[in-house]
């Protein structure tokens, strides 16, 4: 059971996406886990064959519990080890691997599930998950009657509520934000950025394209914030065990407000390298999956920095709270038209309030200021984004 957030202690397995004997490769989704942040897809990071499924659907197990085993192709040292699932465990990071190593002995000794040939065939016809059935046949085998009985109940595997539990999510946000404010000495900076050039370019860009290909201003913000991190890499990464650990890429956690309350910030990986159209698509996809459930574990654990954009209906200025163990959060307020001095004249210009909340243990205000200036500069040349 991967840790899919700073304060996750346990998760409920709601769906297996693989079955015994399936070949999986790194990046495949093998299961769906219900967490405080909703249903999250669990990926594997090894290649191999699923040789044992240890946790049945519906079971709630602590973080670190072995969910399944994957026999690797051989060269993988982790082959016989439990599945290396989404690896970043913010609290406490060093302890996580030990937990994973310690667990296999404790894991129940599950043997091969016995299913009679006809029961297996029937279950396949009914799309029934055999792993949740109890067998009444010879040697505890699952037989036709067990499958038919399960099919009669109509709700195939015991239905664990899949989707968002907003009360649970509120608890998770409370825990993460309390920890942030307790542990992270924030400093805050802000700047106002002229968006005249950016929006004019965007209008031109979008005019030639069908609605589906059009790009929102938020994408420009995201790309600019990501690119500017090249100049200030100390804002991109984690504060762990008393030291800064740089991120292995610019993976921007994109804050998404959920209907009915709640907030989630899944990663857009390598946001600095993706072209605008791809970022737009990624953003759409994340919003859609965050709201319906279906985020992957790695998307929740991999952000190296967070960007929040309050959008059209938000406040003019946002000053964020860092998501631990990250060290910075960039905020974009609502785009507003304000009087702006241009070459000694006053013009109405679209502007945005840009803010930075950063961890004073890692960086100082001077560096933060340079970072905001870099974003502002990049937004003046939108065609280069």
């Amino acid at each position: 059971m991967p840790a899919l957030g700073a304060d996750m202690e346990a998760g409920t397995l709601v769906q297996w996406c693989v079955k015994l004997g399936d070949r999986v490769k790194s990046g495949d989704v093998i299961a769906v886990v219900e967490t405080q942040k909703g249903a999250i897809e669990v990926e594997v990071f090894v290649d191999g064959v699923v040789s044992n499924i240890l946790v049945p659907v519906g079971e709630r197990v602590p973080v670190g519990t072995v969910l399944a085993r994957i026999d690797g192709a051989g060269e993988m040292p982790a082959a016989a080890e439990p599945v290396a699932v989404a690896t970043r465990t913010p609290t406490p990071p060093r302890a996580a691997p030990e937990v994973r190593r310690a667990k296999p002995e404790a894991a129940p000794q599950a043997s091969r599930q016995k299913v009679t040939p006809v029961a297996r065939r029937r279950a396949a016809e009914l799309h029934l998950d055999l792993t949740v059935l109890k067998g009444s046949g010879v040697e505890g085998s699952i037989r036709l009657a067990d499958v038919e009985a399960a099919a009669l109940i109509q709700t195939p595997p015991p239905t664990v509520k899949k989707g968002l539990d907003l009360a649970e999510m509120r608890k998770a946000i409370a825990a993460a934000m309390s920890r942030s404010k307790r542990e992270i000495p924030h400093y805050y900076l802000s700047d106002t950025v002229d968006l005249h050039a950016a929006l004019a370019w965007l209008e031109h860009f979008n005019a030639e394209r069908p609605p589906i290909e059009r790009i929102l201003p938020a994408v420009l913000f995201l790309k600019a914030a990501a690119l500017a991190l090249h100049e200030q890499p100390k804002l991109n990464g984690f504060y762990e065990n008393g030291a800064f650990v740089p991120g292995d890429g610019v993976h921007v956690g994109w804050a998404i407000a959920l209907r009915g309350g709640g907030l989630i910030a899944p990663a857009i990986r390598e946001a600095d390298k993706k072209p605008l159209a791809e970022l737009m698509a990624a953003m759409r996809d994340l919003v859609e999956r965050s709201r319906r459930g279906g985020l992957r574990g790695s998307e929740l654990t991999s952000p190296t920095v967070t960007v929040t954009n309050v959008g059209d209906r938000g406040a003019e200025t946002v000053t964020g709270v860092i998501y631990p163990p990250q060290v910075a959060l960039v905020g974009f307020g609502r785009v507003v038209v304000r009087p702006w001095v241009v070459e000694d004249r006053i013009e109405g210009r679209p502007v945005v309030s840009l803010s930075l909340a950063a961890d004073h243990r890692v960086t100082d205000g001077h560096l933060g200021g340079l970072y905001l200036a870099a974003i502002a500069r990049l937004l003046q040349e939108p065609e280069k984004l």
Partner: protein
């Protein structure tokens, strides 16, 4: 008026049915004659041929020297030149002395002569345990004979089959062996007067059921039917398939039954290893694997020479209790 009444059923023993079959064959075809040890003056070791010497004379009811190889070979020769010999061997254990004649001549000559010679020979022999006649007279080796291509192997278990299989066997231009289980001779039953012949190619479902197929033949049939009766009291609906013909095996009937019930116990008095039950189980595994809802099971004879002591002999043979146990474990595992 009386002619419109259905004829009343005929009550007789299995032994009598065998004798009536022989009488019918002898009366119907002058080429038919019997050979065997003590079948004439003594009337046969199981008294099947008693009275036939008086009725048909020494030319057609011939006592032979105690040499299975010689008189089975003589039967093969007679069949090759157009006669219809019916050879009796006292028990299947003794038939091993004639195995060379059966395999290397009876079965092989039609093939090696390119069809110039047919061998329309019928061999009858007693088989099986239960009569306390110890380890040289009690085995069930019909599974061995069922291994041999070119033979037809019949195992009449009912009085009807005992009465009518023989005449059909005589029509077959190839050698046929009829195995009569020693424990069936004294069994009494009624012949349906409406039946005048039976096939010698198909298995038959003797009792229809839905939960488990009990596949058996010969001497184990009535034990199996008894087991099915006992199972029905427990709410387990067993189907009983009587193979009747061990070769060529009617796999279709077996597979249809197992496909319906999805569970199968094979009951075979023969030794388990390399047995007919093994062949049937393998056919099911090959042809109906995906229909199975439980492992295949067998109730077979214990793999020892048949003991003489009654309780030991009983313990070595499939019994209704052991069949019930095996079937119950498949349907309602404890």
């Amino acid at each position: 008026m009386a002619s419109q009444e259905p004829p009343s059923p005929l009550r007789m023993t299995y032994r009598e049915a065998c004798k009536q079959a022989l009488r019918q064959a002898l009366a119907a075809d002058p080429r038919v004659f019997l050979m065997g040890e003590d079948i004439g003056g003594y009337g046969g070791c199981y008294a099947v041929t008693k009275g036939l010497l008086e009725e048909f004379g020494g030319e057609r009811i011939r006592d032979t020297p105690l040499s299975e190889s010689a008189f089975v070979g003589a039967g093969i020769g007679a069949a090759m030149v157009g006669m219809r010999p019916i050879v009796e061997i006292m028990t299947v254990n003794f038939s091993l002395l004639a195995l060379d004649q059966i395999l290397n001549n009876a079965v092989t000559i039609p093939y090696m002569s390119g069809g110039q010679f047919a061998v329309p020979l019928v061999i009858r022999m007693a088989t099986g345990g239960g009569r306390r006649v110890a380890a040289q007279h009690s085995h069930s080796l019909e599974g061995w004979y069922a291994h041999i291509p070119g033979l037809r192997i019949l195992t009449p278990a009912t009085i009807e089959d005992a009465r009518f299989m023989l005449i059909e066997a005589l029509k077959d231009p190839n050698p046929t062996i009829i195995f009569e289980h020693v424990m069936l001779y004294n069994m009494e039953g009624e012949l349906d007067p409406a039946v005048a012949s039976v096939d010698i190619s198909a298995a038959r479902v003797r009792r229809a059921g839905a939960d488990v197929s009990l596949v058996t033949y010969g001497g184990s049939l009535f034990k199996t039917l008894g087991a099915a009766e006992q199972l029905s009291k427990e709410g387990i609906d067993a189907e009983v398939v009587d193979l009747r013909v061990l070769r060529p095996l009617d796999a279709r009937t077996i597979l249809a039954s197992v496909t319906k019930t999805r569970r199968c116990v094979i009951v075979d008095e023969g030794w388990r290893s390399g047995s007919l039950s093994a062949e049937i189980g393998m056919r099911i595994a090959e042809e109906a694997f995906f229909e199975l809802d439980a492992p295949l099971r067998r109730v077979c004879g214990r793999e020892v020479p048949m003991p003489y002591a009654a309780h030991l002999e009983d313990a070595c043979l499939p019994q209704a209790e052991s069949i019930v146990l095996a079937a119950r474990e498949l349907v309602r595992p404890s």
